[in-house]
């Protein structure tokens, strides 16, 4: 088995790392295709993806030589020797030695320690062979040259090693800076994300390409299942990685390069799986790349966790707000239910016990019972509507209606409550049909008319008008009563439990307008309150208009 020299450790590790089959069974990593490194080992380089054949020893040595800069070192020595041969015509032999030292420094700076040492050795050897008399021989005429060689060799080695270390430190400083910049970028991108979708986008489009050709961040659903439609990915492997919190590789033969699955871990557990395809960094940069990759995974995990907790906090807030509303509703409803019930019961008992009650008193007691039960009825109807809408959402039973019919029915229903109030209706004769839930919409008008009856004096005027304006239908209900309360904004009237007159004798929990607005908005419309000039209030409903269905002309029927 042919393995790159430094890939040996890799293979041992890879053999321990399990690989999950598509059917979910784990099998040893090394048994399948090309080995993938376990990235948790920072020093292990990523193996080249090509399957190892059997290269000749010469080719391996040559490869190694080129890898570590040995060939350039030998070449540099040769060049230095030639140069020295030329220079020796002008300079003294002892001065030319410096040229070899200089070469060693250059080689060590460029190709590292080993190349520097080789250059030092060959420099000394070629100096001996070519320049020290007798030339073209390793024999020495003067034994003091031995001292010179030894010293030169030691000096060359030391200088070479120092230069090489300088080079490595510079390189690692530059790489560190690159990593820091990249990390800062990733951190910036992730911290700007406000939803998991954005994080997924950043991972797939920005972060993954830093490490491989393509990448996907896979997130579990509510049941902890990882689903993916991506044909390159294997859901079972991703699920395994997510469940175990361990890394795995998967090669689906013939479908491009293998995909590596890395768990995205946050302090409180695994949050997802990052799948990378086409991981091919240069071996020398592998360690840096690996550390950067791990740091990015940690950042992604933290970002996911941050959003998870932000979601939890938001849900809790909604729940608390719902709870608060429920309490307010309960308090208001129990007040508004009990008040008329108490009155009804009291009046009934008065009628029951008092035998000598004057006729006028009896009539007013009976009238009061009826009024109170009407109020109770209106409240119950609103509550039921509200409960129905909250339970099922607002379900609209839309049909094409003539708005005039809805007004007619609402007016007939409110006739008793409106009493002697003058009602002026201005509906254009050619109003188009509107698509609405007539029963819900009748509730809107009924509530507006009820409000008018509740808050205006017995001889007030009411105006109901409808016309097409802008790109919608405009429906207005106006009165010349006391108008909207001056101390609150008109919009607050539409908040639940808002009432113009605080704790007044007028019953109703202020659900009416809230209900009206919900219904109108469910129709895609808007409901607003305005003061009417010179006195009174004006409620305006704006409904969007669509092309009504065609009606066949009569002669065709």
């Amino acid at each position: 088995m042919a393995i790159p020299v430094r890939g040996f450790a890799v293979c041992l590790r890879a053999a321990r790392a399990p690989l999950v089959d598509c059917d979910g069974a784990a099998r040893p990593f090394a048994a399948s295709g090309p080995p993938l490194t376990s990235m948790r080992v920072a020093s292990a380089p990523w193996s080249p993806g090509s399957p190892a054949s059997a290269p000749s020893i010469a080719r391996r040595v040559a490869a190694m030589a080129s890898t570590h800069g040995l060939l350039p070192a030998l070449l540099a020595c040769a060049v230095a020797t030639l140069a020295a041969g030329v220079l020796l015509r002008v300079f003294d032999l002892s001065n030319v030695v410096i040229l070899f030292l200089f070469t060693v420094v250059l080689v060590a700076l460029r190709w590292g320690k080993l190349a520097g040492a080789v250059a030092a050795l060959f420099g000394v050897v070629s100096f001996d062979f070519f320049f020290v008399p007798p030339v073209y021989s390793f024999h020495l005429s003067d034994t003091q040259y031995l001292f010179t060689f030894a010293l030169t060799l030691v000096v060359a080695l030391v200088i070479g090693q120092l230069a090489a270390r300088l080079r490595e430190e510079t390189a690692s400083a530059i790489a560190g800076e690159h990593r820091a910049t990249a990390l800062a970028n990733v951190a910036g991108l992730l911290s700007a994300a406000v939803s998991t979708e954005e994080i997924v986008d950043e991972c797939n489009n920005t972060i993954a390409p830093m490490f491989g050709s393509r990448g996907w961040l896979l997130l579990p659903d509510a049941q902890g299942r990882i689903n993916t439609q991506e044909p390159m990915l294997d859901g079972a492997v991703a699920q395994w990685v997510y469940a175990r919190g361990r890394e795995a590789g998967c090669d689906r033969s013939g479908e491009g390069s293998p995909v590596r699955y890395t768990p995205v871990v946050s302090p409180l557990g695994t949050r997802g799986v990052l799948a990378l395809q086409g991981v091919a960094p240069s071996p020398s940069a592998a360690g840096e790349q690996q550390r950067l990759f791990e740091a990015c995974c940690a950042l992604i995990g933290q970002a996911l966790e941050r959003i998870h907790f932000a979601d939890l906090a938001r849900e809790a807030e909604v729940r608390i707000e719902g709870e608060r509303l429920r309490h307010a509703l309960l308090a208001a409803v129990s007040h508004d239910l009990k008040t008329p019930l108490t009155a009804i019961r009291g009046m009934a008992e008065t009628l029951e016990s008092a035998t000598g009650l004057p006729q006028a008193e009896r009539v007013s007691a009976v009238r009061a019972i009826r009024d109170q039960s009407d109020a109770l009825h209106r409240l119950v109807v609103n509550l039921l509507d509200l409960a129905r809408m909250q339970e099922h959402g607002i379900h609209l039973n839309r049909e094409w209606h003539a708005i005039g019919e809805v007004v007619e029915v609402a007016l007939a229903g409110a006739a008793m409550a409106l009493g002697a109030r003058q009602i002026h209706i201005h509906l254009d004769a050619d109003l188009p049909l509107v698509e609405l839930d007539a029963c819900l919409f009748e509730r809107v008008l009924a509530n507006l008319l009820d409000n008018a009856a509740k808050y205006t004096q017995a001889r007030a005027n009411l105006w109901i008008g409808a016309h097409v304006g802008g790109n919608g239908l405009l429906l207005q209900v106006e009165d010349d009563g006391p108008g909207l309360p001056s101390d609150v904004l008109p919009e607050t009237l539409f908040a639940p439990f808002a009432r113009g007159v605080r704790e007044s004798a007028i019953s109703g929990v202020g659900l009416g307008l809230t209900l009206c607005r919900s219904i109108v908005e469910a129709h895609g419309g808007a409901l607003h309150a305005y003061p009417r000039q010179p006195v009174g209030a004006r409620f305006e409903i704006r409904l969007p208009l669509r092309q009504p269905p065609s009606i066949e002309p009569e002669q065709n029927l």
Binding site: E405, V407, A412, C439, P548, I551, L557
Partner: protein, 256 residues
């Protein structure tokens, strides 16, 4: 004049009680039934002229009782229901009921409807089928000659408008569902197009009503259908003087 016989089917005792008191004060005889079984027996033995029926009975659905009743009786049926869904109303009407009242209802409203339906049944019983002239408000319709006039002036109606009006007249003031109207006027292919009825009803109102926005005769039953109110036959004008001002509106709305 003989006392009119009313069958009251309602499982709640208090409601039965106040309806009974109200009807007896009107000079009617009331028979009570608290469930579907009693209702079937009472209907057969008492031969009521009008039935007031609660839909939610302890031993069955009021609609089934109405269907059975329709097999042999044409007495008007007035449905009482706490269920607000329009589908329920439509189902009751199509089972054979003539009208419905949603709980809670007022006594004046109930009485107005009972009177209206008794008058209507009376008109049919008088053999009015031979009379082709019908009046409501200031409108006169001759079903034989297709002539319609308002305040003596002829009104032109298109054939569809006339068929719609005739269908309402044939109902004698009972609620006619959209489906029934569409089948009757437009034919089977149109039963799911209630907007046809709405558009033509608007035309009819513009031509026949004094105030089309607040019709007194061509009355909307939202999501259910229409009824023709205030109808009378030939020269026989039937109108009772309403006792309290607030009931005047009801009387007109439900007068047949």
């Amino acid at each position: 004049m003989t006392r009119q016989r009313i069958l009251l089917v309602e499982d709640e005792g208090d409601i039965r009680h106040f309806i009974r008191v109200a009807l007896e004060r009107e000079g009617m005889t009331v028979f009570e039934a608290a469930n579907a079984w009693e209702a079937r027996i009472a209907a057969a033995s008492r031969q009521p002229q009008l039935v007031i029926m609660d839909l939610g009975l302890p031993d069955g659905d009021g609609k089934d009782v109405i269907r059975d009743l329709r097999g042999w009786s044409s007495a008007p049926v007035l449905v009482l229901s706490a269920r607000e869904h329009e589908q329920e109303k439509v189902a009751a009407l199509e089972a054979g009921a003539d009208d419905y009242l949603a709980k809670p209802f007022g006594v004046p409203e109930l009485l107005a409807r009972v009177r209206a339906h008794l008058r209507r049944a009376n008109l049919i019983g008088m053999g009015g089928a031979t009379l082709s002239i019908v009046r409501f408000g200031d409108v006169q319709v001759d079903l034989a000659t297709y002539e319609v006039s308002r305040n003596g002036a002829p009104v032109h109606l298109t054939p569809i408008e006339f068929r719609l009006l005739a269908a309402l007249i044939r109902g004698y003031g009972k609620v006619i569902t959209y489906r029934q109207l569409l089948l009757d006027v437009w034919g089977p292919g149109y039963s799911d197009r209630p907007h046809y009825a709405r558009v033509y009803m608007n035309n009819l109102r513009q031509k026949l009503e004094e105030d089309p926005a607040r019709p007194r005769h061509l009355v909307t039953e939202l999501q259910v259908g229409y009824r023709l109110a205030g109808i009378c036959r030939g020269e026989a004008t039937l109108s009772a003087a309403p006792p309290v001002p607030s009931e005047r509106g009801l009387e007109t709305r439900y007068q047949a």
